[in-house]
């Protein structure tokens, strides 16, 4: 017991004296709670999103019971075809057009769409006419896949590179390398390429393996998809290198990595569409490379987007990668 308490005390003191780690451990959950509270504020934790063409006021007259149902976010749209596309791509769970005879659209593979259909039947929408979504319906799994793979790449790249370099620095391996003619850029570049090869091979194996059973929708070019995912992974690794450029504290690095990955995980559209959320949240999401990677891969896979069509995303990711890598190499310290 004495030994246990001695070790416990020593560890507590170590933690408390590592001020940077302590500050992050305190600040991170605080910032997360505040951020989420703002993002999903308003007291109505909306679970479903229904696009409305023809005005939300009209809906409230036509189907007041549905309009009054809690936990549904109604998003007004003017362009019917654009709104149908949102349903097709799982960015909206349902679309209701009340400009003439009320009609609704759902994606037949959407679990939320299925539940909303039951909800409108029981809340004054029994007479609404169900319409087929024009064109190829995007299955839920096809919408979800780029997000899942993107998130996996993000975690592997950020933590895999960031933590490893911090550990090397902490245990003196970087100091040993510093005593050799190896340059810092050579070292960092080797880390980048190593992780890039690893993650690309893993992602390809996961995709190919799952594709044998699920047969993912792939409308575009595999080469463009490879380019986008390679650039996206490069960008994530560059962020990992930047975070690990100086710190020797694994706890501090862990705090920073969490601070970067959590917002990306929540706001990049990996799990759910940001359709209908505050405009500033949508704007904020644009600073995350994962947002661009997922948007581009979804466009390539589900809509057959060409390289020129996803070029804006490619440029953003490329510029971010260059900036993060250059900054990481510039501030890098062996010790």
């Amino acid at each position: 017991m004495k030994k246990f308490l001695a070790v416990l005390h020593a560890r507590n003191m170590e933690f408390l004296r590592d001020r940077s780690a302590l500050a992050w451990n305190l600040a991170m959950p605080f910032l997360l709670v505040i951020g989420l509270a703002f993002t999903f504020s308003g007291g109505n934790k909306d679970i479903y999103k229904i696009g409305i063409v023809g005005g939300i006021d009209t809906l409230s007259r036509v189907a007041p019971e549905l309009h009054g149902t809690r936990h549904i976010l109604f998003v007004p749209y003017d362009d019917l075809n654009a709104a149908i596309d949102k349903v097709r791509h799982h960015q909206m769970d349902m679309l209701i057009d009340v400009s003439s005879l009320p009609k609704y659209w759902i994606n037949s593979s959407s679990p939320n769409g299925y539940l909303l259909e039951r909800i409108i039947w029981g809340s004054g929408g029994k007479l609404f006419q169900r319409q087929a979504v024009e064109g190829v319906e995007i299955r839920y799994v096809d919408w979800f896949l780029p997000g899942i793979l993107g998130m996996n790449m993000m975690f592997s790249c950020l933590f895999g590179v960031g933590f490893v370099i911090v550990r090397y620095r902490k245990n003196g391996f970087l100091k040993r390398l510093k005593a050799t003619p190896l340059g810092s850029f050579q070292f960092l570049f080797a880390q980048l390429i190593s992780r890039l090869l690893l993650i690309m091979v893993i992602t390809t194996v996961v995709y190919s393996g799952c594709n044998l059973f699920i047969e993912f929708n792939m409308q575009g070019s595999y080469w463009v998809l490879l380019l986008v995912t390679t650039l996206g992974a490069t960008c994530m690794i560059s962020i990992g290198l930047l975070i690990a450029a100086r710190t020797a504290s694994e706890e501090f690095a862990g705090g920073i990595l969490n601070a970067v990955t959590w917002p990306m995980m929540l706001l990049s559209g990996a799990w759910f569409s940001l359709e209908g959320t505050h405009a500033w949240v949508v704007q904020l999401a644009q600073i995350f490379p994962l947002t661009h990677m997922i948007a581009a891969t979804r466009a390539i896979m589900n809509e057959g987007a060409t390289l020129s069509q996803v070029m804006p995303h490619v440029w953003v990711i490329t510029v971010m990668s260059a900036v993060f890598l250059a900054l990481g190499a510039y501030i890098f310290k062996w010790e």
Binding site: Y168, N171, G172, F173, K175, R176, L177, K178, A179, T180, P181, L182, E335
Partner: protein, 294 residues
């Protein structure tokens, strides 16, 4: 002879601490130079400035008469006091990794033989014993066939047998006309390996020279150790410089023949007399007023 490495007025400050306080050294080529001192004396900080790992706050380090430049990394070998290696690699793979970092290298088979690594070549570096690990680290320090080798407390934590094996290795390396800069707090190690030593205390060099020179400079006398039971009471009346240890007396004298005669004439039994030579430990106590192990 021009020194292979020299320093002038080397100073290193850390917040609130002067770790190294104006050290000037000139180390000739081909010798083993020992930097001695207790923990916190500034040995590691000094050697790391010589290695080019840390920049001095002031002062200069010259290698072959020139400031440390790009070629320095190619021409020196370093064994740090604490070093981790890339995990999940074998000894051979680790040698190959470091071999690829240099332009000019010793052939790996030669290095394996020199550092006696053949039995552990395929062993994971995490599973090496202390002695095996130090031999590998020495091999890594030698892999670029350096002219100048830094060994920072290379035998700390090793058992006596492993330590002696390591000394043999260092002696072998030295015989290849390499210059070795060694830090240690083992006096017998310094005595066995070093041609010149500098004793550091509180960031300064307090004494420097060959071990024999320093001992002769600081100690002109010898110590006679006689068991208390054999000495009798008369010995205290002879006007000798006598110190008392646990169960024997220590008599310091620079007139050995005369002192021995005095003792015999006064009936002191010398059957168990022991004449002790001064050691570097004594020297350190003499110049700093404290023990090296403190």
């Amino acid at each position: 002879m021009n020194p292979i490495i020299s320093t002038t007025g080397l100073v290193k400050h850390y917040p609130g601490v002067v770790a190294v306080d104006g050290i000037s050294l000139a180390i000739p080529k081909g010798i083993c130079f020992g930097l001695l001192g207790p923990n916190g004396a500034g040995k590691t900080t000094t050697i790391e400035m010589l290695e080019g790992i840390h920049l001095p706050t002031s002062g200069s380090v010259l290698y072959k008469g020139e400031p440390l430049g790009a070629r320095y990394r190619e021409e020196v070998g370093i064994q740090f006091q604490h070093t981790a290696l890339q995990e999940f690699l074998t000894v051979r793979e680790t040698l190959e990794l470091f071999e690829r970092l240099y332009h000019h290298t010793i052939p790996i088979p030669e290095l394996i033989e020199l550092c006696a690594l053949s039995d552990i070549l395929n062993r994971d570096t995490r599973k090496l014993s202390g002695g095996q690990r130090q031999r590998l680290l020495l091999a890594l320090a030698l892999i670029n066939d350096p002219e100048l080798i830094f060994l920072d407390e290379p035998t700390t934590g090793l058992d006596p047998q492993a330590r002696r094996n390591f000394w043999d290795l260092v002696t072998l390396v030295k015989s290849r006309n390499k210059t070795i800069v060694l830090t240690t707090h083992y006096m017998e190690e310094a005595y066995a390996l070093c041609d010149q030593i500098a004793i550091m205390d509180k960031g300064r060099i307090v004494s420097q020279g060959t071990p024999a020179q320093l001992l002769s400079e600081h100690f002109g006398d010898v110590v006679l150790q006689i068991p208390k039971a054999d000495a009798g009471d008369k010995v205290f009346d002879l006007g000798l410089s006598i110190g008392e240890a646990a169960d024997f007396l220590e008599i310091k004298t620079n007139r050995l023949h005369h002192t021995l005669q005095q003792l015999i004439e006064n009936g002191v039994n010398l059957d168990r007399l022991h004449i002790r030579a001064w050691t570097l430990e004594d020297l350190f106590i003499n110049v700093t007023g404290k023990s090296l192990k403190s």
